[in-house]
Amino acid sequence: MHLSRLLILSLLIGLITLLPIGVVMSYLIYPESAIWQHLWAYVLPEIISNTAILLLGTGVVSAALGIALAWLTACHEFPLRRFFNWALILPLAMPAYVTAFVDIGLFDFTGPVQTFIRHHFGEGIWFPPIRSTPGVIMVMSLSLYPYVYLLCRNAFLSQGARITEAGQLLGLTRNKAFWRLALPMARPWIVGGVIVVLMETLADFGTMSVFNFDTFTTAIYKSWFGLFSLSAAAQLASLLVIVVFGLLIAEQYFAGRKRYHTPLKNMSPRFTLHGRTKWLALIFCSSILLFAFILPLLQLIYWSAQVFTQDFDERYPQFIWHTVLLASVSAGLVVAAALCLALTARTYPNRWFKAWGRLATLGYAVPGSVLAVGIFIPVAAADTYLINFFNAQFGWQGHSSFLRGTLFIMLLALMVRFMAPGFNSIETGLQRITKNQEDAAKGMGLFGWQLLRRIHLPLLKTSLFSAALLVFVDTMKEMPITLMTRPFGWDTLAVRVFEMTSEGQWDRAALPALGIVLVGLLPVFLLSRHQEN
């Protein structure tokens, strides 16, 4: 009886998240052949190869960064480890296009680095161009590695040290034990993180605009804004969705029957680094943090200081409050929904329910504005129906919206968008709970809500926190859906950033962007304090 409530809730959540995607995909019914011919001949070949290279590069580099940093901070002791433990998550709070803009500004022809070189060494010295494919990959990886880092760290914290010791006593050096044991055992976490990275890369438009790098998503926007065809854009987006869904299913298929978590009672202590390795670790962590967060932050502070008196007005506390409110409620909602889906997949270990959970995450791979339209159309239609209904039944006049412009719809829309980071984090966390533990609890008479509260939730704490954090920062950086669904006069910091950057006023955008970063520090701190306990 209690379990079937879970099922119904999951079905409902899945339907809500799939509806906008369904709307987007409905455009497939009438293909715009004129536009497709043009795209096929002149646009698609290059963007497909670009997108593939971008995905491959970003996937590999962000995974390498995330894994290496997680391994270091989870299982080793070196100077400032405690600081890096949480600080390495900070790039999440920095919107990727800000990092892109700052790094390009630093290293481009007109930037300080190259200008300095030209002054002192004359013209003609070659400098690696930042506006290039490797440049995009580097910047995206610096922005997105925290997804892998966060999930991977959970894996290594819970079993990395102990497994390495077991491996050592079976004849492996620490190094070999990492490659042959710790790393393979972290596979689900790594894959979970990389999937989120890839989806976000696919859907990214802001960073690609700053780099002017042509990807599938830029083609989508070209079709929509340039060729005035939302249908072509939606058709392209649908293709994207299908490909992503295929990849998700493939990944699930290959995961197979293996388990990757061994229930450990307590952690082995960290391995202390000495000598050269100690300093290398320190330098490595510092450099990543520097380029991914500190340099952009300094640039933001510098710009904000210049425009502060001009732009900081009495509405700013309101913007900050709106941002925090939206992000935290969204995080709570998405985590609850994701937990529901993940638990269903686990309770009914059936391919279809696993696939259902995966389907619900697809909103993450759809470019933001397209998804926003996909959300808006059914909402507007529902509103029209409701208005006509109430008008006919009760003679209510003058209402122009019931659903539009409410926080309720905003939150549902954000849930559609950000299910992926929430779900992936929780799903990998559920792997920690063994069937034995569940059965033991059921044997003691716990089931349904009680089982959840007393067994699952405590064991899932870390994953739930990670999930909440990811959704929080993603929400506060989000623009298209916020723009389209917000009530009149209800702005967040992200909206302020939009106002400034749409006319290229990056220095004025620095003030709200800095606000976003500072707001993002809050959950990162909370998460880090929770982790250390």
Binding site: H2, R5, H38, Y42, V43, D108, F109, T110, T115, R131, S209, V210, F211, N212, D214, T218, Y221, K222, W224, F225, G226, L227, F228, L230, S369, V373, F376, I377, A380, A381, D383, T384, I387, G398, H399, S400, S401, F402, R404, G405, T406, L407, F408, G448, W449, P480, L483, M484, R486, P487, F488, D491, V495, E499, M500, S502, E503, G504, Q505, R508
Partner: protein, 338 residues
């Protein structure tokens, strides 16, 4: 268990309903605006309007694409009375999609020149954005500059900087070139531009201008207000403005403009607002903050802008920018202009 669940649900719904806005309009006269023009530019304007007339202006900002889709989805239930965009192409598209109604107003017809208004009177321009040639005075003699089209000539090889074709301002420029010269010739011109590029195209005009100053390229095409912003901060900026196509049809201009939505609830108020925006009370307010030119020729531009000298506006109706935009985008793809 079920009872608790129901109680919780009712509680949550109650909380959510607090967020529901009061959708019933108060008795105060108000106009609702959907604007792609940014908040910091329009809010002072609307505040001034409210102060002057007492009419409240509620507005929401977003990119044009989503705004148009929003209007389409809302249909007859849209609260929007006015649509404001920052380029002609999107106004054309809005009209083309049946989202605007006729804006018959003698005031507007008097204030705004014909080439800046829709021939079918569905929308009007309110400010002018000029897109012209900029150059490095140390490397380029102003006498060697003539037209946009000539920048495709071989003598400019390796010296040209352009902004990306994805930005609507370049799409409008190429659209106008197509209107003037036809597709075949325009494609040759654009191909010539691409061959002359000194470096990859830039995502924004500011970076482009800075590149000219730093010497990465000698000449480029940008909107004047970006130039204005830089010069405002760096008076000794090493880039000069050149009004293009003096001997031909003149400088390519685009508009920021407005129209009344088809299902406006307050079309009278909407018309009044747009008329006010075209009048001398508002024109400077509309344009000065952003260093644009007033669409109303009777209004003097900001002195800084006047300091750049007068220029001839290309008088082809700006709606062609929208009509030809799709062809322009495809053309640029074919020519390899990213």
């Amino acid at each position: 268990m079920l009872k608790a669940f129901l109680q919780n649900s009712v509680k949550s719904l109650a909380i959510f309903s607090i967020f529901m806005p009061l959708a019933v309009h108060a008795g105060v006269d108000e106009v609702v605006v959907y604007s792609a023009r940014n908040e910091q530019l329009i809010k002072p304007l609307f505040d001034a309007y409210t102060k002057q007339t007492g009419t409240v202006v509620r507005f929401v900002t977003d990119k044009e694409g989503p705004l148009l889709e929003r209007l389409k989805a809302e249909g007859s239930n849209t609260p929007a009375d006015v649509l404001i965009t920052v380029d002609a192409g999107n106004l054309w598209q809005a009209a083309n999609s049946g989202l605007l109604q006729r804006l018959d107003s003698t005031i507007i017809q008097t204030n705004i020149p014909a080439h800046l208004r829709d021939p079918q009177n569905l929308w009007t321009g309110l400010s002018v954005r000029a897109r012209t040639i900029f150059f490095n005075p140390k490397k380029v003699d102003a006498k060697s500059l003539t037209t946009y089209e000539d920048l495709a000539k071989p003598e400019w090889k390796g010296r040209l900087c352009l902004r990306t074709s994805k930005k609507v301002y370049n799409q409008s420029l190429v659209a106008m070139l197509i209107e003037e010269h036809g597709e075949a010739q325009t494609e040759q011109i654009v191909k010539g531009w691409v061959q002359n590029l000194a470096t990859d195209v830039f995502p924004d005009d500011t970076k482009l201008l800075e590149s000219i100053a730093a010497g990465q390229c000698d000449v480029g095409i940008a909107n004047t207000y970006y130039f204005g912003r830089i010069v405002d901060k760096k008076p000794n900026f090493n880039v000069k403005l050149f009004w293009a196509n003096k001997g031909q049809k003149g400088v390519h201009v685009n508009i920021s403009g407005a129209g009344i939505t088809k299902h406006a609830k307050n079309s009278v108020g909407a018309k009044k607002l747009i008329e006010w925006l075209s009048s001398k009370d508002a024109q400077n307010l509309f344009t000065d903050k952003d260093m644009e030119f007033p669409a109303n020729p009777a209004i003097a531009a900001d002195p800084v802008l006047a300091g750049w000298g007068s220029f001839k506006q290309n008088l082809i109706n700006v709606n062609k920018a929208g009509e030809r935009q799709s062809a322009a985008v495809k053309l640029m793809d074919r020519a390899g202009y990213k």
